[in-house]
Symmetry: C2
């Protein structure tokens, strides 16, 4: 099999921190170019826009879109129309319905559209899913609190319409939740705290449930200083399971049963390479649907302005 | 075929204005009971809650849920669990994902779940759909402006989380739009005007498009006094089509080509009776998905408090 020649589009923090390194080590993937208005990588062909990349760039098979979600749909459509496979950073769009035409285009062109949820590839996710499958669940609590100034410095797009605010990390928790639970969940109530100067919430509390009435709560907060938390706790008839550090670690009743290094982005690119071999797509919109529902039915409160 | 014995649950304005009269004239449907905390209909068995109705009431085959959307999911689940067919007023829920378990329950129980969109049964909708199917569309504009004090007097639920505000009528326009256009649309931008004392918008501007880039705009406003407008205009290569008065009237280049009396709710109950004959469900979530996306990606502004 020949190498999948990938261009990264959008060369911000996540592209540099994760994508470049992952592509470098994944067999069958090779980084062929970068498109970004501002940034480039020494030694690699660089273009300002995806259009210039496609017109003037070296031959590529796929694009990995690491741009803010507000511009990604149009870029994905452009890439699919040019016959390229497309990998989307999370969230896959600024709305749920905008994915439908992309899915149709990908199917028509027999190209892969891969809406990634990197947190689902954290090492403890699959062990947790399997462990929960044989237990009776009593309750679930998500505690996802981080310091936006540390993790999203200067990312103004996150506060603009479509930027999701605290749901940008929160959707990672929801992507894990919707993978490990045996039944689909839905939002029944939400409280969204909007800074007076922002178009996206800085904190949110969600109440969810499933067809059996399982109580699920989630606390998302972007104002966390000191210890950061990316935890999911599940009480069951077989004890309490805890996923911590973004599902890197799984413990049952306090005893660690899984602890492995983070290979999320390597796993994403392994999956992307495998998908492109047959042109299959992988687009699960469940996490984004939950966020859309939270915005739709949530109670909004105004909180103090956010200054980065 | 025996009559479908229907109980209306929630006996507010829409139940009285539309449902009672429609059931009375539709062949195969009969009104058997009412469940409502406050209201009743002389001569008909009355119960305070759906639970009392199901435990103590006369035999029924179906419930028609005319309660506010915030309580409807639990009532629908209760009715389906009791083996009843369920008809949902619009919107079908306060979130999109909450419909999934109801759809699963209905399929499992071989009972009908009918998520109604009454405006789709307006007389000019089908002629419009057929007319548009053979034209090249250039642009679409929706103008949906009504006086909330006239049409929703005292309906405080409409301003609470999940109540949709101006999208309660606006979703009627979207239910027509998603029926008459040849391609699915999605929201690309939205402006939502929230009264400072309300949890739902009083006005909204939407920008939508489809896979081909069709420009679609919508103006929803609940503050309209004087002439009310429920219009959809479509510019095509074959002239301008206008649906007015909530798709009661269709005109092409100013010439009326369809104009018939409103039978929306009669058509709804005819459809419900037909669906229950086989236990098929009819749940199209496209209009609610568009509203959820508008909330998700919309720009929020605060406007003056609303006092009914």
């Amino acid at each position: 099999m020949s190498e999948l020649r990938i261009a990264i589009v959008g060369f911000g923090k996540i592209a540099r921190d994760q994508h470049v390194g992952a592509i470098a080590v994944v067999q069958g993937a090779t980084l062929a170019a970068v498109a970004s208005r501002n940034a480039s990588l020494p030694g690699l062909p660089h273009f300002a826009t995806i259009e210039e990349l496609l017109e003037q760039g070296p031959p590529i098979d796929a694009v990995s879109l690491c741009t803010p979600p507000q511009v990604r749909r149009a870029q994905a459509a452009t890439a699919l129309a040019a016959g390229k496979h497309v990998m989307l950073e999370k969230p896959p769009g600024i709305g749920v319905a905008e994915l439908d035409p992309l899915i149709a285009m990908a199917a028509e062109a027999k190209r892969t559209l891969f809406a990634t949820w990197h947190s689902r590839y954290a090492p403890a996710v699959e062990p947790a899913r399997q462990w929960l499958a044989t237990r009776r669940l009593k309750s679930v609590h998500i505690n996802w609190k981080e310091d936006v100034r540390v993790w999203h410095p200067g990312q103004t797009w996150i506060w603009e319409p479509g930027g999701l605010g605290v749901f940008d990390p929160g959707i990672n928790a929801l992507s894990i939740l919707t993978r490990i639970l045996p039944q689909p969940v839905f939002v029944t109530a939400a409280e969204l705290a909007f800074p007076a100067n922002c178009q996206a919430p800085i904190a949110a509390n969600l109440t969810l449930t499933d067809i059996g009435g399982l109580p699920v709560t989630a606390e998302f907060d972007f104002r966390q200083t000191g210890p950061q938390s990316w935890d999911i706790l599940v009480d069951t008839d077989g004890g309490q399971m805890k996923l911590s550090r973004g599902a890197r670690i799984m413990a049952v009743d306090g005893k660690v049963v899984a602890d492995a290094p983070d290979e999320e982005y390597r796993e994403l690119y392994r999956r992307f390479v495998a998908l492109t071999a047959t042109g299959m797509s992988d687009v699960d919109l469940a996490p984004l649907r939950l966020v859309a529902d939270a915005f739709l039915l949530g109670k909004r409160t105004l909180v103090e302005p956010f200054v980065d």
